[in-house]
Symmetry: C2
Subunit: 478 residues, 2 copies
């Protein structure tokens, strides 16, 4: 049986090799494992429980805005995928093709959905007739497949789980409003539930979704100073509607095209949770989505009354919290580091002396602080501590992002920050894709977004020196 | 806008053409629609909301028994599928094959999972080491694909949604216990939540799952007298463990093979809900899984105070019930038949006179009975009525099944019942597959199950006259 030291040694320190730290954590905490299918993950119980909590939180937020869930087929006929030109160009190179059903070759190949705009469009063209049918606010939870060359658990896998919302509206204004509304839902969810601060903004033409008029994004910053696109919301205008013939009779009895949006968040966000909050001891899970919010560890559990008291405490707490009692025969020290590694926000120690004093010890995963609390009001104390940890995690993540966010007005400055410090670099941009390409070539950094909160750092593009149009967040990204 | 009569006319009467009645209902109530991919459904919001309620109810029951959710890849390499001989023979003829990723041909074909035993086995062989790792009680919610020749919405589609549980145990006894435990979970769920009575029993050798030692089933009876296999639970013994090398060190430090089970329920069960409970006016949804349990229809809503009172009632009820207020400009008559058709268990009428008398009218979808209730305790009245309807629906379904269940001791009797009356026929069987084959050939009926509750109708096989071993439920099936 491993002792404290052993367990921690098994995780490569973050400062030594961030990528190995990341995969060590995933492996040791059993979040997911690769399968024999290249680039496809087995999401294990602990990882899936996090995803279930994410689903629950997001789904409730969607439904509050009127969204309804549906399920579309996982296959898309090749001819359907090809209907919208930009879309097929963006996705066709990275799809899996089904060519045979049983022993028969198919007349038309089917791709396994990389995203489902085409299927939703086909369905909408069948069911939308009049302005009374609008808006349609559909979402589905499913898996999608993209034939990636290189893969990393959660961050980039051939198959991943996500939700994809697809809406149809009578007017361009309605579609734009919904696009921003859903971006705000994602941002609120990340900040409140996942304790991850995000930058909201618009993608550049180069970085936008294949087939979209505008793509909006929330960008978060990992502990190693790399950015991660954490959720996107697209306004399609009436481009797909024209390609798929989705028309409705407006209240003047005239045929008009609908305006559409789509928006998605995926299991990728679990990678963000790991890389925003984790430390060298392992995961740190935000209380609101942690599968186990508190673990009770009995101390000297062989002594009379200890397991009994721990069992009673478990019963009391399990009504209100996601709580676990570990009364296995492993040592308290082993359990301490095990649940630290698994990122359980609070450890509750209960030993003979505590029972005598009618108290328990709450230990915070966030900063290892200990609080002795009376058993009489432990529910309230635990609830307060979980709220406090949630806030502390957000504050720490925000502070980390701010400490890794710089501004650059000259290209030399820009390049040296990207190379030496990393993180987000705010810099002015002329709006030309050439500058984006040059920056990517020179530094591997990409434009993360044109943030809604603009600043005027200078009046010149950081790259070419021509008049600047926008301030952009730049950074290396996952 | 359609009036009452019009709407009802649109549904083919059950007695005239049951198959058309079924598809009419699905179409008119917008449960699902076919897509441009042959045999693949779009599950629309109303259908998906039923599935979500089924998921919620089943998932909670699973978790109470210690089951954890995971997610496995949707692809299975051909070599992995072939590892267990019976299993591949059962499934290979009906799988979809992925042969290309992007522009490249794959070195090995991948099949889209028709079921995931092979993937779970591979994963278990990686993670199970010792008796301390057992049991493993995993489940996943996902979609699977089977390349069916003929398809029908919900009942048989190329892709369908389901859950598949896969467990690994130290002993044969543990595996058998879990197999029966999960069958009982399904039976309890069907009876309590879906108001569908089921026969529990074992499948014959001929009808069991490919690769299983024993398959257990719950069988329900539709309104037209056809049976529907509603959930299955399989005991694999150590067959898969041997094929996949899933061994563990037991507490004597010896290597032993695990014993496994799997069990599943699918969107097929939505077909059963339709066909067990529906009538010529449309769906009848059991209150516990109805997306809308009660709909408030304001009467004379143009009159002062009506919409206001209806809105207040909605606010009051929506805390405790899944309730909907239809204040659209359609006529009350249209709304009455619309929500009848959609199977909403209770309609709440509220008009100026009701408001004056501080009352509302509750109308039951089950038997159209009306109750005038005081607004003071409408929550309690509604709750009681929903419970009553749930019970009435179960009782009616049970009565229908009993009226369509016969016994036969001679083969002539057997054949004439199958042909003329349909339903379940109980009859003795010698245990030989030849008799099953002959019965199927002569009547198209199949053995549904060897029920746990055995009766000794005679001592001879109904088909061949040889000594009987078991009583079997026979019937034509979906």
């Amino acid at each position: 049986m491993a002792d404290n030291k052993k367990l921690v040694e098994e995780i490569t320190p973050m400062g030594e090799d961030f990528a190995r730290w990341y995969t060590d954590i995933i492996k040791k905490t059993q979040l997911c494992e690769y399968s024999s299918v290249r680039g496809c993950m087995v999401i294990q119980p602990y990882g899936y429980a996090i995803w279930e909590n994410i689903q629950k939180g997001l789904d409730a937020r969607f439904k509050k805005t009127g969204v309804e869930n549906v399920y579309m087929p996982m296959f898309i006929p090749e001819s359907l995928l090809q209907r919208e030109k930009d879309h097929v160009e963006g996705f066709a190179p990275e799809v899996a093709w089904v060519t045979h059903g049983g022993n028969d070759e198919l007349q038309e190949r089917l791709c396994v959905r990389p995203t489902s705009e085409t299927l939703f469009c086909e369905h909408y063209s069948n069911i939308i007739r009049s302005y009374r049918d609008l808006p349609k606010l559909y979402n589905q939870w499913c898996s999608v497949v993209r034939w990636e060359k290189t893969t990393r658990p959660f961050l980039r896998s051939m198959e991943f789980l996500w939700q994809e919302g697809h809406t149809a509206h009578a007017t361009a204004e309605d579609a734009q409003e919904r696009t921003i509304q859903m971006l705000n839902v994602y941002a609120d969810f990340c900040e409140k539930e996942l304790a991850i601060p995000v930058i909201k903004g618009q993608k550049t033409e180069k970085e936008k979704f294949a087939g979209a008029n505008e793509t909006y994004t929330i960008e978060s910053l990992m502990h190693d100073g790399k950015a991660l696109q954490s959720g996107t919301s697209h306004n399609f205008g009436d481009g797909f509607a024209k390609a798929f013939g989705i028309q409705y009779l407006n209240d003047n009895n005239e045929l008009a095209y609908v305006h559409q949006t789509s928006w998605g968040m995926s299991t990728r966000i679990i990678g963000a949770i790991i890389m925003v909050h984790g430390d060298d001891a392992g995961l740190k899970l935000p209380p609101r989505i942690a599968p186990t919010q508190a673990v009770i560890v009995p101390i000297a559990q062989h002594k009379e009354g200890v397991l009994d008291a721990a069992g009673k405490l478990y019963e009391r707490l399990s009504d209100k919290f996601r709580v676990k009692l570990d009364d296995s025969d492993k040592s308290p020290g082993w359990k301490f580091s095990e649940y630290e590694m698994r990122g359980v926000p609070v450890r509750i120690e209960l030993g003979p002396k505590d029972i005598e004093k009618n108290q328990a010890v709450l230990v915070s995963r966030f900063d290892r602080s200990k609080t002795f609390v009376s058993l009489d009001n432990i529910e309230e104390e635990l609830s307060n501590l979980l709220d406090k940890i949630q806030q502390q995690m957000y504050d720490a993540a925000l502070q980390n992002r701010e400490s890794k966010t710089s501004s650059a007005v000259s290209y030399d400055e820009f390049k040296s920050i990207i190379e030496e410090k990393g993180g987000f670099v705010k810099a002015m941009w002329c709006g030309d894709e050439e500058c984006e390409n040059k920056i990517k070539e020179d530094t591997t950094a990409t434009s993360r977004c044109i943030p809604f909160e603009q600043e005027e750092l200078s009046d010149k593009c950081v790259c070419c020196g021509k008049p600047a149009k926008k301030m952009v967040y730049w950074g290396k990204a996952y």
